[in-house]
């Protein structure tokens, strides 16, 4: 130990604080440790300093942990609120979808005699063919015409003009991919005008020998096709079904 140092040199300046914080150089640290063994007052001072520093560190940790807990609580509340909002929104969407779906299917049952809205792939009323989706309907009305067991032509007379509506059948696999759906309540149909009248090509997976067809014109813009055991309603742009040219 350096003999020139005073009896309580360890207590001078910031030595105690620096010793506790391990900020003295190595040699001084060793001297200090040796000195502590002989100096009770110094030991007590070191203990007091340690308590202060430990207390401050504990407070620091406690404070940051406390703030972290508060943040987590706030964050959880915020997440919980968002979850609630999302749940309510999802419930609203489900209810709306359910109501519309129910109305859609109820409509089919309620309109027993009239052809209903059909989606039209191309609302062009020119001479070009039209793709139209037919809706399978439930209808109590009895068909007064003739049901043919083969691919057929039907003559429709309005006034003194007679026109022909011919019906052909094609397999679903013949449909252009963009028009294919898995919905059994719709039947895709190609409408074409011919010199004699109208030609419908119905796309459905049905064996040809089981086909039964008939056709009934409800108005100038709608007709019902009896196809096997289904009744399919079509809504067609004005002028297509009408007999007048």
């Amino acid at each position: 130990m350096n003999e020139s140092k005073s009896k309580h040199w360890a207590l001078e300046g910031d030595n105690v604080e620096a010793y506790v914080m391990h900020r003295l150089d190595e040699k001084l640290m060793q001297e200090f440790s040796l000195h502590l063994q002989q100096c009770r007052k110094c030991r007590s001072k070191v203990q007091q300093e340690k308590d202060i520093q430990v207390g401050i560190r504990r407070f620091g940790r406690w404070e940051i942990k406390h703030r972290l807990q508060q943040q987590i609580r706030r964050d959880r509340n915020r997440r919980f609120e968002w979850t609630q909002v999302a749940s309510v929104a999802a419930a609203v969407v489900i209810v709306v979808v359910a109501v519309f779906t129910l109305r859609w299917y109820t409509d089919i049952g309620q309109h027993k005699t009239k052809s209903r809205e059909i989606s039209i792939k191309q609302d062009d009323v020119s001479q070009r063919p039209l793709w139209i989706t037919g809706r399978v309907i439930i209808q109590n009305r009895t068909f007064k015409g003739t049901i043919s067991e083969q691919i057929s032509s039907f003559n429709i007379t309005q006034g003194n003009i007679t026109k022909t509506i011919s019906i052909r059948h094609a397999q679903l696999t013949d449909l252009p991919p963009s028009l294919r759906t898995n919905d059994e309540s719709t039947i895709q149909t190609l409408f074409e005008k011919t010199s004699k009248g109208l030609r419908l090509t119905l796309y459905a997976d049905v064996p040809e020998q089981t086909l039964k067809t008939g056709v009934e014109v409800i108005s100038a813009e709608s007709l019902i096709v009896y196809f096997r055991d289904k009744q399919i309603a079509y809504h067609i742009p004005g002028g297509w079904v009408g007999i007048t040219n």
Binding site: M21, Q47, Q48, D51, I52, Q53, V54, G55, I56, R57, R58, F59, G60, R61, W62, E63, I64, K65, R67, L68, Q69, Q71, I72, D75
Partner: protein, 191 residues
Amino acid sequence: MQTPFFFLNNDTKLIDAIRHGSEEALVELFHQNRRAIHSLVCRNQGSEEDAEDILQEALVILWENIQKGTFEYRAKLSTYIYATAKNIWFRRLAQHRREVRTSEDALNVAVEDPTPLEELEANERTYAVQKAMEQIGNPCRELLLLFYWEEQSMEEIALRLGFANADTVKSKKYQCKKLLEKLVKNLLGDT
């Protein structure tokens, strides 16, 4: 410190955020590591509450080490947090076992250990310091925390707290410490 490039994105952002005092970064780390720590603690005789507490402790240690500049980025943050949490939890379990043993066999205390009275006094004093820190107010509280807890230099503290220079900080720190000691004395006198 060289950062492995594949961890650079998220981890370094979080470390930087913590270095700049962002508690949101700690919250993000809390959520990211909750499941892993929950599984660790619950598999080892702990409860969900223990798991949360241990994770918070691990995050405080991470915070402390980043602020002190002693944090070394050698593995992913999640690995660091997992290892820290594991250490804390097993130490706590061991301490609990020791306490049980000690209470069962109180006479077998080593002679060199501090006496219960000494331990009690030390605990009382550190508790009083904590209480005094609550009372002392700013800027003393912040200054003492930066110096003793985050181990910042006088120059860094001057910069962070807006003091003119390191000497001003040194003088202010002296005053603050004296005030803290006075508060502690009062608190210990009161009890």
